[in-house]
Symmetry: C2
Subunit: 365 residues, 2 copies
């Protein structure tokens, strides 16, 4: 049961958790060594400042990774709560600090809600920050059942999906899914900083997406990178090898004369192709069904078919000639599995020449 | 006047232009050496296949950069159109080819609509692809007035904003705003490809954004990189230097013992800070006004203020104590300039303690 919560550290994440917990009916207390930050959180309606009279059910420690151990030690000495968790984006270091410093490591479980914004601080907080997101919990060999249960309950109160991972496993994964991508966004954006005037006119959605997270607080991210340095370093070395090869290949393509062009182009294509394979893994998977529709040669027929099918979430994967040298086209449509029946029935009823439906694995795009 | 258009190359961009031109009432003819692609475009309602009886007003050459020169030469020999433009993402090479090969370089102006999708081919085409986007035109010293005028008209028919640039200037800018960001997304995504199972659970919006464009067609992008190799190589070398320094610094942070930690952390923070400065340049700028509101200490007051101000597009930039050691908070609000008057009036009327309005330059976030 989590009826009372103490949030220590009212930044973006701590204040957002407090707002979500308040919305779920939890009594929330707020603490931060920055008097203004805690006043802002209180003024946002995230809870009340001041220490609770008796231990709360759960204390959420929302401070930088390097401070989790000492903040937990002090909180446990004050008997602030029955159980404790944190939100640091790195879990190995804090876990080691806790096992070394905390009076009662059994009452603590590491946590990491996988959500954030470019803006930091309580002003950017929102109760919806975690809805539908993964909230990683990293029990140590000392973690007790109550701490794990209460942290899981808080994650669910915030609308997140709790997932258990070993802390080392978590740190290796976030290096590749979060920390290195952030550094890559920063490296890309750093080039834009030095680009000539007029650059803005040529900025499209692509580069805006690639560099969006680079707007994050440098001090905060430097601390995250330092706290996960071994895992980040391992991934960065691999990226560095790839980039060194790529850069050399593009130098060859930039040179006069065709010497080495073919192998240089293969190197560039290889990086691009491996990127496609990786990008696919970032897409939310879903169950899809596929079915073909045969179209007579008639201008606009495919346009009308796609317009008719769109309401069911149908998209066209590819089109080929129905038979070699034939005028008819075969369109391969993809539709969310649960909508397939209705889509087929409606299209057939409307007179489209619909083929047999095959269910299929998740799309590659 | 552009009353008739011939699209040579019915891929994503060519077919999207055709759909937009059709919607604007232009008579559109479609050609592609791939018989299925052109049939698909026709079936989408993008126009009619087959060659027009007499020269059209404008021919749009939507083929890879390396083929623009020869395709233009052949089209001019057939007297296909009065003027010609293309959509290649690189302009210097095609311009050189055109000046070398084309019977009538005066009838051609280079073009580059700054829009795309991860999916390629006519099936991914949409008439809205260019609305609000920049469409670069790169007249050479030979380009005539009619070709420039017609290409600008087509851009506007597609809802895009024509911008004139020198072809070399264009290529240097797209290297840093498009080509290198694409390669950085690919390098980041390539690491995900090799990451262990379970990675998907820890994928958030951040890495999804960074890697989205990496899903683009490798062959197409390899051709773009090759065609703009000198400009891309120059930027990649700078990124490579940055990354090499960064990687070495993180190796130091990963090492045991504090030796060199401070300067390594400075190196990491420097890259992150330059990234913030660059990311700011990718945000659409706007005119904003700022004004302060003073709040009594009362839990939830700021929450109610932001809820009341939100309909006017008001966001809170920062909050400080109104006076040192004081309980009152001063909130600094930012609002789109044109909404400032209404927002101030409504908040004052509702009894909020609103301070004087200062207009301000574009926000940094």
């Amino acid at each position: 049961m989590v009826r009372s919560l103490l949030v220590i550290g009212t930044g973006l994440v701590g204040t957002s958790v407090a707002l979500a917990a308040r919305r779920a009916g939890v009594t929330v207390f707020l603490a931060d060594r920055d008097a203004t930050a805690v006043r802002v959180a209180e003024s946002l309606g995230a809870g009340l400042t001041g220490t609770p009279g008796r231990p709360v059910d759960l204390a959420l420690i929302a401070v930088p990774p390097a401070q989790v151990g000492t903040v937990l030690r002090d909180a446990q000495r004050r008997r602030s709560a029955h159980s404790y968790t944190d939100v640091a984006g790195v879990k190995g270091g804090p876990e080691r600090d806790v096992l070394r410093l905390a009076p009662d490591p059994a009452a603590y479980v590491g946590g990491h809600p996988m959500a954030g914004r470019e803006r930091s601080g309580p002003l950017a907080a929102t109760a919806d920050l975690f809805s539908g997101r993964t909230w990683v919990l990293t029990p140590s060999e000392r973690t007790g059942a109550e701490a794990l249960r209460n942290a899981g309950t808080l994650a669910e109160l915030c609308g997140a999906v709790p997932v258990r991972l070993d802390s080392r496993e978590h740190d290796a994964l976030v290096a590749v899914t979060s920390h290195v991508p952030h550094l890559m966004a920063s490296l890309t954006a750093a080039r834009l900083r030095d680009a000539p005037t007029g650059t803005e006119t040529l900025v499209g959605q692509g580069v805006r997406d690639v560099t969006r997270i680079a707007a994050g607080d440098p001090a905060l991210w430097a601390d995250i990178v330092r706290s996960n340095a071994p895992a980040v370093a391992a991934v960065l070395r691999e990226v560095c090898d790839d980039l060194t090869r790529l850069s050399a290949a593009v130098d060859v393509l930039a040179g006069s004369g065709p010497d080495g062009h073919d192998s240089a182009l293969r190197t560039v294509t290889d990086v691009l192709a491996r990127g496609v394979a990786g990008a696919v893994r970032t897409r939310p998977a879903g169950a899809f069904a596929r079915f073909p529709v045969i179209l007579d040669r008639e201008p606009g027929a495919l346009g009308r078919l796609l317009a008719a099918a769109a309401p069911h979430g149908v998209v066209a994967d590819r089109v080929d000639a129905a038979r070699p040298g034939d005028d008819e086209l075969m369109v391969h449509l993809r539709v969310p599995a649960d909508a397939a029946g209705a889509a087929l029935a409606e299209l057939a009823a409307a007179g489209w020449n619909v083929g047999r439906c095959e269910s299929a694995p998740s799309p590659t795009r």
